[in-house]
Symmetry: C2
Subunit: 129 residues, 2 copies
DNA sequence: ATTAAAATTGTTATAATATAACATTATGTA
DNA sequence: TACATAATGTTATATTATAACAATTTTAAT
């Protein structure tokens, strides 16, 4: 368990308490009162937090959420469900899914060291409407 | 089988003959001699081509490749392998993978209508080096 | 053929996302 | 201590993408 630097901690705290994925410039806006003034300060912290697996980037949304999967020390196998109406994002933690994907081998003999899976659909709430 | 408009056809042809994913502004640069002058003209064609499944967006790379999966009329279930050294991208077409993912259900009862999966690793060539 | 709706195009401006380059300070560790 | 590594601060700029508006072309129903 790694200790975070000042900026990393500030930005992680913000993302961690957010119910929804946050975008880099939304983060910037929200941490300016804490002395983080420039985009690069945000992006550097985000890069590091992604690298150590404390947060994940939702690629299709250019947004970041905290990892809620205790086994996720490094961001090497991620899966998310994304509601196309309310944009709610949930990290999927399914043993069978992660086993299946970790063992997946394609024809080319390529060795995978990482994957990212994004499911899109309607969440329970939005499906009813 | 849908007929493409002029701009769509120009841009699809370029992507389709490219061995690697192309970025929007690379595309723009390469079609300026054909009269497409503005980013928006490129993005509009890309949006449409993605919508009808002729091309796919590689989200982690902000780049586009032609679909080489004949069954892919609509971009609703996509999987790619990406080499982290040479950036070669290949569309994966595996019946067992697509079946597994199409049938995957998470705990929340969310109904998925689409997914995108990106595997990262080293391709055969880069693994040897 | 007529015509109304839908799709596509053209254009300018600007928004949103992300990195380069350089100087400085803090932290970890031999 | 002192050296390497990581983190910070700052300005400028590169890259990716969309807003807003006007015009034209295509499609499909009458």
């Amino acid at each position: 368990m790694q200790t975070l630097s000042k900026n990393q901690q500030i930005i992680f705290d913000l993302i961690n308490k957010s119910p929804e994925p946050l975008k880099a410039y939304t983060i910037l806006y929200n941490v300016q009162k804490k002395g983080i003034k420039a985009p690069l300060q945000v992006y550097r912290a985000l890069d590091k937090l992604v690298e150590i697996g404390k947060i994940h980037k939702i690629e299709s949304r250019n947004a970041f959420i905290a990892c809620h999967n205790s086994s996720c020390q490094v961001a090497k196998a991620t899966a998310f469900s994304i509601c196309e109406i309310c944009e709610k994002v949930t990290e999927i933690s399914s043993d069978s899914l992660s086993k299946y994907l970790a063992n997946f081998k394609d024809k080319d003999g390529m060795k995978y060291i990482k994957y990212n899976l994004e499911f899109f659909g309607l969440c329970k709430k939005c499906k009813v409407k």
